[in-house]
Symmetry: C2
Subunit: 112 residues, 2 copies
């Protein structure tokens, strides 16, 4: 028990898994890239158009991080023309229930 | 329809409410402060201890923003000693289902 600030109760702490989720998804653009890919596979230039304000170099960096974290995959399709596509992995698709809840919450609680 | 990157499908876009949620909760510490308050009311110094690495001035700024967004409330209890407590509002508690989903996902997909 703790009596901080004069109020007696158990010490507060954010769940560590939740803190990891916020630290990871809170990195600028990462969440929006994943949210875009919930609609289906997309190429680099599509993602750049979908993620307003991102530069090529930052998008490239974020995609590399998300591939490294096992949340998205990069596929190269033999051409011609050769095309590159990014898709959610099973782990990335695992975020869908959380994203649906976040969307519902934001529709009700964050003004457009 | 669009033929970007050689792949033909509808243009991709992140849902705008979801993008607002990521932009808002992605601000450093905001999600962790809300995650901490899901455990119950907490005073300033408790939150500072719970949110590892945050400074007094940044915590103060984030709390003001979260009060302004209507997600938390600040209560002053007459003393002695006078105590200040922060709690989630109804809108803040509305994040609970999303936070539960994020926690489950992070437990399975983000290494500790």
């Amino acid at each position: 028990m703790t009596a901080n600030d004069g109020v007696i109760h158990e010490p507060r702490a954010c769940d560590s898994a939740l803190a990891r989720a916020f630290n990871f998804l809170g990195k600028r653009w990462s969440g929006v890239i994943l949210g875009t890919l919930t609609q289906g596979p997309a190429g680099f230039s599509e993602l750049r158009r979908a993620v307003t304000g991102i530069s090529d170099s930052v998008l490239s960096e974020r995609l590399t991080e998300l591939v490294g974290a096992g949340l998205i995959e990069r596929f190269v399709h033999d051409g011609p023309p050769i095309t590159v596509e990014y898709t959610l992995t099973v782990a990335g698709k695992g975020l869908l229930p959380a994203m649906r809840e976040l969307t519902t919450w934001a529709e009700c609680n964050l003004p457009a």
